[in-house]
Amino acid sequence: MNWESWQAFWAMGGYGLYVWGSFGMTLLCIVGEIGLLRRHRLQVWRRLKRMKSWDPQ
């Protein structure tokens, strides 16, 4: 175990800003990408369903 306390964990030996800035941005990117993907899928579905309702076939 590397850490004496939670405080030490968040401080990262003085590199807190850099370590958490990196991991945080990565998390944000992943969450953002998955969110955009979901939205894209929903948009495609909605558009295709709407197109179908106009389609007499």
Partner: protein
């Protein structure tokens, strides 16, 4: 059953749908294990203290940024050569994830460079060529988005992909060819890695997690793309009506 069987969108769509949860679950498990090693198992570095832990994202992200580009160029080449519909879709589906990893590699690099080198950014060969990679990803996506006809859009994007792939070896060898501030590679196929075992394992597991994530996300994106493109076909109609 031959290779063309899987190249058919009607086979691909349900198959990808079944595979995605597995790759997503693997990505999640590997990422959890990788993060645990990154923070609780890997020891403090004797030179960089705790700041080096950025490596567990930085290196896998940088690997993925280059690797995804090569895979994208591969699908583009296949698409241009055989005009297979799914190849172009795969190339297109990979681009945003590749751009994301390139951005992450650059961002984490800046957040690592600042405490260790004293600068967020330097115009060094490695950093500059990686930035060009980001521009290439964005350029491919913008070019594809700018052309309305999907077939022309596919071909134009694929061509730019193939031209841009020359940048990948430049990034990879930049630390050898030029005098760079960026360090050389710590992991190589030809010699023993110059780092502690647990650090190496943490990095490899994180890289594997990134792989699984990339597969899951790009398959999901390819599914939406293929459904949209094949909307006139029977199988797509059946999917939309909830019959498949």
């Amino acid at each position: 059953m031959n290779l063309y069987y899987f190249a058919s969108p009607s086979t691909f769509y349900p198959l990808a749908g079944k595979l995605i949860p597995w790759f997503a679950a693997l990505a999640f498990i590997l990422m959890t294990a990788g993060l645990y090693i990154s923070f609780f198992v890997a020891p403090t570095d004797f030179q960089q203290g705790e700041g080096y832990r950025i490596i567990f994202i930085h290196v896998p992200a940088a690997w993925m940024s280059m690797f995804i580009y090569v895979v994208m160029a591969f699908w583009s080449a296949i698409g241009l050569a055989w005009n297979t519909r799914l190849s172009f879709v795969m190339a297109r589906a990979l681009a945003p994830t590749g751009a994301m990893f390139t951005f992450v590699a650059l961002w984490t690099g800046a957040f690592w460079g600042k405490p260790m080198w004293g600068a967020w950014w330097v115009w060094d060969a490695r950093l500059t060529s990686e930035l060009i990679l980001l521009f290439l990803y964005v350029g491919v996506m913008a070019l594809q988005a700018a052309i309305d006809d999907p077939r022309r859009s596919d071909r134009a994007g694929a061509l730019l992909n193939l031209v841009g792939v020359i940048n990948v070896p430049i990034i990879y060898f930049s630390v050898k060819w030029w005098n760079t501030l960026h360090q050389g590679s710590s992991v190589s196929l030809t010699r023993a890695p110059s780092m502690a075992q647990t650090m190496l394992w943490g990095m490899l597991i994180m890289a594997l997690a990134a792989w699984m994530y990339t597969i899951a996300v790009s398959l999901a994106r390819a599914r939406s793309l293929v459904l949209e493109r094949e909307r006139q076909t029977d199988w797509a109609r059946a999917v939309l009506e909830g019959k498949a």
